[in-house]
Amino acid sequence: MTTAITLAGVRKEYGGFALQDIDLELPAGQVMGLVGVNGAGKSTIFRILMGLIKPDGGQVEVCGYRMPQGQVAAKREIGYASDDMRLYKGKSLRWHMDLVRSVYLDWNEPYAAQLLKRFDLRADQAMGGLSHGQRVKALLLLSLARHPKLLLLDEPTTGLDPVARGEVLEAIAEVLGDENRSVLFSSHNTRDVEQISDYIAFLHRGRLVAVKDKESFLESWRRILCQGEWRDEIAAVPEMVSVRRNGSVIELKVRSFHPGLTARLQQLGLAISAVDRMDLEDIFVTSIAAGERQ
Amino acid sequence: MIENDRVHYLDNLRALALLAGVLFHAALAYSPLMHNFWLTADRDKSVWVDVAAWFLHLFRMPLFFAIAGFFAARLVNQRGVGGMLNNRMARVLLPLVLFWPLVTAAIGWLAKRAASTVRNAPPLLELLRQNDLPSLPLSLAHLWFLGYLLLFYLLIWIAATAEWRVAASWTLAATPARLLGLAPLLLAPALASVSAPTPAPEGPLPQLWAVVFYGVFFFFGYALHWRPLLLSQFRPLSAALGIASLAAHTAFLWLLKVQSRHTGAHLLEAVLQAYVSVWMTVWCLQAGQAWLNARLGWLRYLSDGSYWTYLVHLPVVFAIQFQLLDWDAGWPIKWAISVLVTLTACLASYHFAVRGTALGRVLNGRPGRREGMAVTSQGRRS
């Protein structure tokens, strides 16, 4: 299987921030959600992938091209939109579309017209008068209308109202229909990531905490509700991430869950009343909190 | 309606306006007013030349600029501002660059030769002979109109880029009454700032008065493209406009004769000239639309050859009139000869040496669809 993105041992240090030992692989045809709090290094990873920042070490390969050397060829295949990207205020969306069209041969005008309609945008309106949501949709239109092999979307849904968010997700989801096209997108809205990504990469303080396919990632976490006497051995169980006690009720959150774990907890004298799957948001918050405590 | 076809009456009018230039320049040799300033000024002159020539002078170029404005609008409409500019570069800038040195050199050479051969030298030639001036002052000669056309095309680009729609809406909102009654008053200051009759703005730099004066006619023609019905509104006024123009021109000539450098009189002259210019331009346009709006065989051919004729006519006129200076004949005969020979020479050279050549393509557009100088329809294939 070919990979859309390969990062191996990538390091980058500047200011007080350091990206460390990033190993990341996105198989072609997959959608990966990059999750992390603000300042975790998500945007830096995007910029490295675009060849805009040269890493201090490690290897970067995007769409089969080494970066940043192969950035021109790679960028022909990439559609990139980021939260801090703006279009020319005095110019219309039509002007931008014509500009992009003149660069990329695979620009699809009928699809662009369809996206215009779906996003409820007017082509002749100057960019200066657009709202945040319209601007994001305009950027996305410029990327999507040329069917890039790889979409790099840095916070595409941030700050959007629910309707606009739905429209944007729908447009990204259309990419899923093609098994050669891949998406890497970041968000601190875990619901978006949970919904459309195949893989989840967890970034915290410049380090990748976890990279997994979403279903086994979600499958590996459990919230266990039980009752019983507190014993310190409970916290020492290796899978244990979070423990909360409220009287005799104990709420445990574990990773790498397996059936044997319940038996182990029962051995420790706990009566288990519920074992639930967790959503990404919960996992996200739990692991960040756990990381802070270490 | 007219999008994909030729606008016959404007083609015809433009041909006539350009040919009127030949008549006018040939007549200047016999004008008492120009006697001291014209290279081929003849001993025999007549005040009737002044009466007729300066009347023609008041509206032939305004009419030409109005027509050019119309065709510029048509090009913008068909190909956008960029397309219009591209087309105009080939049709206007290139001829200017090609012909200006040739025309200037030819006139300079003719003048120098005449200075040493002619017995009855007019004052200007005498001056050349005595002072042995190195060369005539830098001038675009009769090709100045090409420079102004380029300037106006550039202004269209500027206005379109800066999205100045205000000016356009003003023009579009003009009623016939305002146009005929008020527009001339706006033009008067421009004319008042120069001597009367107006000199040719042939210097290397644009003259503010000429930019304003001819620019107004150009943009009137530009607006006309979007108001095709405007002209027919003037038709009932046709006779009145003609008579009023003649009256105003008579008053102007009388003032010119009696005035003694009086500022008020000069201002009045400017006003009268402005009225004659506007009224006669409008009169010509509506008359052309009424009577010349068809493909007229002989005019058609003249129209094709008129651009070339106009570009090269002045040296030819000079060459002939230098020869006529020492001939004892009446001015009407000399004038008729210079006009006829010039036209024959120009049109014959057009027919045999220009029409089918690359030069003909530059001047008239692609072969097979000669559209005069201001219009092509490369976008249309048939």
């Binding site: 805009l52 950035q71 060829a73 960028k75 | 730099l205």
Partner: protein, 231 residues
């Protein structure tokens, strides 16, 4: 189409893009220049002086705003990430900026320059003025090049304004100094156009400074590791 590893078509596209982004302002300046030329052409003393002054003011301000618009604003308005998302290298973008910056300035500059030459040669102004005028014009062009280079290298609005102001204030000392040069002072009011070794060496100096500014900026840019360092 590539040349020495640079995508010429992309560079051309970026230059056209900058031209279009600045087009509206440029149209305004061109209109102003035409007005100034018409005023000069009118030939009266007051309009000649007013037109000449307008010409110089427009030339200086078109340069000032061209740099602000196509270099400083690109970062300030966060359009740089968009440009960099196109299939270009940072060096291509830099080259395009340099070309666009020069081109946008050269249009009004050449209009003014050729008008001046025409005026000096075609009117009663002493032809000797030409040498002096050329020296001053090329100093203005040099100032613009240096300011453009600094703006491209530093991309900071504050520095840009500072440098431009500093260069502008140097204009009049330069005019006085150049006017005091022996061959200029003796010929400026005559009809002799004299390119003395003294004048030519000043020209050479001007060309050298311009080339140096461009070279240093190029060197600086090839060493830059990241385009979007600051986040």
């Amino acid at each position: 189409m590539t040349f020495a590893g640079h995508d010429l078509q992309m560079i051309r596209l970026l230059v056209v893009k900058d031209w279009q982004v600045y087009q509206k302002q440029l149209a305004g300046y061109l209109a102003g220049l035409l007005l100034a030329l018409s005023l000069i052409g009118t030939g009266r003393t007051w309009s000649f002086n007013a037109g000449g002054l307008l010409l110089l003011v427009l030339l200086v301000s078109t340069g000032f705003f061209a740099i602000g618009h196509i270099v400083v604003n690109e970062r300030k308005e966060s359009t740089l990430p968009f440009v960099m998302s196109l299939p270009v290298t940072a060096l291509d973008v830099f080259i395009a900026k340099l070309i666009a910056g020069l081109l946008i300035y050269l249009v009004p500059f050449l209009v003014v320059l050729s008008t001046t030459i025409l005026l000096v040669l075609a009117t009663s102004l002493p032809d000797g003025l030409l040498v002096y005028a050329m020296l001053v014009y090329f100093f203005m062009f040099l100032s613009y090049c240096v300011a453009l280079c600094v703006a491209i290298a530093v991309e900071s609005e504050g520095w840009n304004i500072f440098i431009q102001m500093a260069l502008m204030t140097m204009l009049s000392p330069f005019m006085i100094w150049a006017g005091s040069l022996q061959s200029i002072a003796t010929n400026v009011r005559t009809n002799h156009i004299v390119w003395s070794p003294e004048v030519l060496s000043v020209f050479g100096g001007e060309v050298l400074v311009t080339a140096l500014a461009l070279a240093v900026t190029c060197w600086f840019h090839t060493r830059k590791a990241s385009v979007l360092q600051s986040s």
